[in-house]
């Protein structure tokens, strides 16, 4: 029997060790080693960085100026960077194929204590109804439990998502909006950058929230919040290629693309017989479709069209001057 006890203590010891290891989160670290979650201890500093990013975007947007066509040009001011019309949905389901999530979504609001509400049912996700509808410009927010008292909940594997994974939200009328994961960040619960998650933005975003971090019951539960940031995957429409690109004298000219969605054109120039092309001009849709260069006759050119979402068309045929 002595041998039995040796076995017994060995097994029990192993189990105890296992439990101790479990308590110290070794496994969590092992299994979650390859997540892309970035833990942000000081979101204030981080939000500065985000702001800078937004400014950059403004500069990129400034490449083309869009004149507001709705208004009477005679007396109304010109509006730059006009955006597309809204078309949001009221979400009823969310599916995330990468982590086998397919759950129904219900509307939640703000609780009396100021927190965002979460569905009673741990297998349901909650869409923050006072906020942005999925599909619209702004931050739509959907939150879900990571676990219930008894086991994993709807967003248990949320931290396993990778950049590029897709999230599909289905509206009440069956319309789908697909988002692409951009980044995963976790914050100490009371230091989360609320403005960045819920505030206004020029982009069309969907942010998923769940709990993460250590569970400390007497401190209100999970210590951190995980936020998965994703942006709307716009249906990629092929941008029409500009035609009739011609070099005559000092002018490179082309025919405009007759589409309301096109905001401008990029002109590319090659000074080495077509080996390499470099962008030399961005021409907005309301401008004359011409690029002026006194040596245009010696170079080669192609032109692309760019739509409101920044999609660029394929290059036009290459044009060159009649004399060299």
């Amino acid at each position: 029997m002595k041998r039995d006890w040796i076995w017994y203590f060995s097994v029990m010891g192993l189990i105890a060790l296992f439990l101790i290891l479990y308590e110290t989160n070794v496994f969590a670290n092992l299994t979650k080693e390859d997540t892309e979650v970035v833990r942000v201890e000081n979101p204030q500093a981080a939000s500065d960085a985000t702001e800078q990013e937004e400014e950059q975007e403004e500069i990129l947007d400034g490449e083309f100026t869009v004149i507001n066509k709705e208004k009477n040009m005679k007396d109304e001011e010109v509006v730059k960077n006009e955006r597309q019309a809204e078309d949001g949905i009221i979400p009823s389901r969310i599916s995330i194929p990468a982590i086998d999530v397919d759950a129904s979504v219900e509307e939640v609001g703000i609780l009396d204590n100021g927190e965002m509400g979460v569905p009673e049912d741990p297998m349901k996700a909650g869409w923050f109804e006072p906020g942005t509808q999925p599909g619209n410009r702004g931050n739509s927010v959907i939150a879900g439990h990571v676990d219930s008292r008894t086991g994993p909940a709807v967003f248990y594997h949320l931290d396993q998502l990778k950049k590029g994974d897709e999230i599909t939200v289905t509206g009440e009328d069956g319309e789908e909006k697909t988002y692409v994961v951009q980044k995963l960040e976790s914050y100490p619960e009371n230091q989360s950058p609320i403005e960045q998650i819920f505030g206004s933005t020029n982009e069309k975003r969907l942010n998923l929230i769940t709990c993460t971090g250590e569970f400390i019951r007497d401190q209100g539960g999970h210590q951190d919040r995980l936020v998965v940031y994703s942006t709307l995957k716009e249906p990629v429409e092929e941008v029409e290629v500009p035609t009739n690109v011609k070099v005559s004298g000092a002018f490179v000219t082309w025919h405009a693309v007759r589409s309301d969605n096109v905001v401008g054109y990029r002109v590319y120039e090659s000074r080495d017989d077509g080996e390499t092309f470099e962008k030399v001009a961005s021409i907005s849709q309301h401008e004359r479709k011409a690029y002026s260069e006194s040596k245009a006759g010696e170079y080669q050119y192609y032109v692309t069209a760019v739509d409101q979402q920044g999609n660029e068309s394929a290059p036009s045929s290459i044009a060159m001057g009649s004399y060299k």
Partner: protein, 441 residues
């Protein structure tokens, strides 16, 4: 020694005088009474076309400036009356005015028919045009005493009316490339009409026009330059308006401008060769066509700085183009005068546009008419400089009206006087010879 020096100096002075002597000898000029008549008709007829087509588009769009355009279209018709009166007298001029001013009213018929999609109204408008073509064709044939045959007159009027309607129909159908193609064709046809009409009048009244012709190479050159310069002005004004309104046909006006540029280039090539033409095209496009469009962009974006820059570019163009013209004409067009004229033109373009942006349409089209007329002064001055530069090419100007009077008519008198005279001389000589022989012997 002293003598040789004096001879050399005299020779030198003489050689220096030579060019001016040669020039004084050359009578090549675009400034003849016949050529002036043709230029006047060039201006009035082509302006009529531009205003008529512009009015049709604006009226169809119910644009706020449609009334101002209409007013100028009517003024243009009234301006033709004194021109006719100076040739055919007041009575005929009045008759002309009645027919011609009246025909402008038909355009509203086309606009209303298109807006209401009313086939019957359209037919009525077409019938009225036909009536005008017959009536006015008859008037012209009678006035020119058949020098412009009635059939030819009607044909050319018919073609013109078709041009106007074609521009309008394509515009309504949103076939803008075709519309501006028709615009360019119709515009240039006005200069053909002017040539035919002025030639007929000049042939009818050679004395009134001092025996000069309206269809000499020099007159042709002046008229071609008139057409090129004034079409540029008309398209520039239209382009800037359409660009500012972001009209659907904006890109097609710029297309028409590019087509016009290559026509102008071809004209320069025929005068100064391919190299000069290439140079012309670059100067013409850069700081000019581009800058005029930049003025529009600046207005749309309300960018004061961009406006300033575009204006500076236009000033640069006045400098560059003035210098180009002076060099090309070898100083026959003085550089300063050329620069000043070009800048004056740019100012007129800017004034027309600015008044349009301000919504002061009467002022805008006042500036338009002034600027449009100015282009014909450019045609005259530049044309004359070119003709003076290359008198050989335009010398035909001096072809006499009739063959020389190289006989005194003596041969036609039957028995000729000189036979009698010769007979008399012979008789006297023979008599003399006989007399000497007799005295010697």
């Amino acid at each position: 020694m002293q003598n040789i020096k004096r001879i050399l100096i005299t020779l030198l002075a003489f050689m220096m005088l030579m060019p001016s002597i040669a020039m004084a000898d050359s009578h090549a000029t675009v400034k003849t009474p016949a050529s002036d008549l043709r230029a006047t008709l060039d201006q009035l007829l082509s302006e009529h076309f531009v205003l008529a087509t512009t009015y049709l588009m604006k009226a169809y769009d119910e644009a706020p400036d449609q009334d101002a355009v209409w007013e100028k279209l009517d003024q243009n018709a009234q301006d033709m009356t004194p021109a006719i009166a100076s040739i055919y007298g007041d009575e005929a001029a009045q008759q002309f005015e009645d027919i011609f001013r009246g025909h402008n009213d038909y355009v509203d018929g086309f606009v209303e028919a298109a807006k209401n999609d009313d086939a019957e109204a359209r037919q009525m408008a077409e019938a009225e045009v036909e009536e005008f073509v017959n009536e006015f064709g008859g008037f012209l044939a009678t006035a020119t005493e058949g020098n412009l045959p009635e059939d030819a007159a009607k044909q050319v009027l018919e073609a013109h009316e078709q041009d106007v309607v074609k521009v309008f129909d394509h515009y309504v159908n949103e076939e803008y490339q075709e519309a501006y193609q028709a615009f360019r064709e119709g515009f240039n046809r006005m200069f053909d009409i002017s040539k035919a009409l002025s030639s007929a009048i000049v042939t009818q009244m050679p004395e009134k026009f001092e025996q000069t012709k309206a269809d000499t190479p020099a007159a042709d050159l002046r008229s071609n330059l008139n057409a090129l310069a004034s079409e540029h002005f008309a398209l520039a004004v239209l382009e800037m308006q359409k660009g500012y309104d972001q009209a659907a046909d904006y890109d097609f006006v710029t297309w028409a401008e590019n087509e016009h540029t290559s026509d102008f280039k071809a004209a320069i090539a025929s005068l100064y060769g391919e190299e000069g033409a290439v140079q012309f095209e670059k100067v013409w496009q850069q700081d000019h066509i581009t800058a005029q469009s930049e003025i529009v962009t600046a207005a749309l974006e309300e960018d004061e700085e961009a406006r300033q820059m575009a204006e500076e570019n236009l000033m640069m163009f006045a400098e560059d183009f003035g210098a180009f013209l002076a060099t090309a004409t070898e100083g026959n067009l003085p550089e300063d005068a050329a620069k000043e004229a070009v800048w004056q033109h740019e100012e007129q373009v800017l004034n027309t546009f600015d008044a349009y942006v301000d919504g002061d349409y009467t002022k805008a089209y006042d500036h338009f008419r002034e600027g449009y007329g100015f282009m014909f002064g450019i045609g005259e001055t530049l044309g004359d400089a070119i003709v003076k530069q290359m008198p050989d090419q335009f010398e035909q100007d001096m072809m006499p009206e009739q063959m020389p009077d190289t006989g005194m008519g003596g041969m036609s008198d039957g028995i000729t006087t000189w036979m009698w005279a010769a007979f008399g001389v012979l008789a006297v000589v023979a008599a003399g010879a006989l007399y000497r022989k007799q005295t010697n012997s």
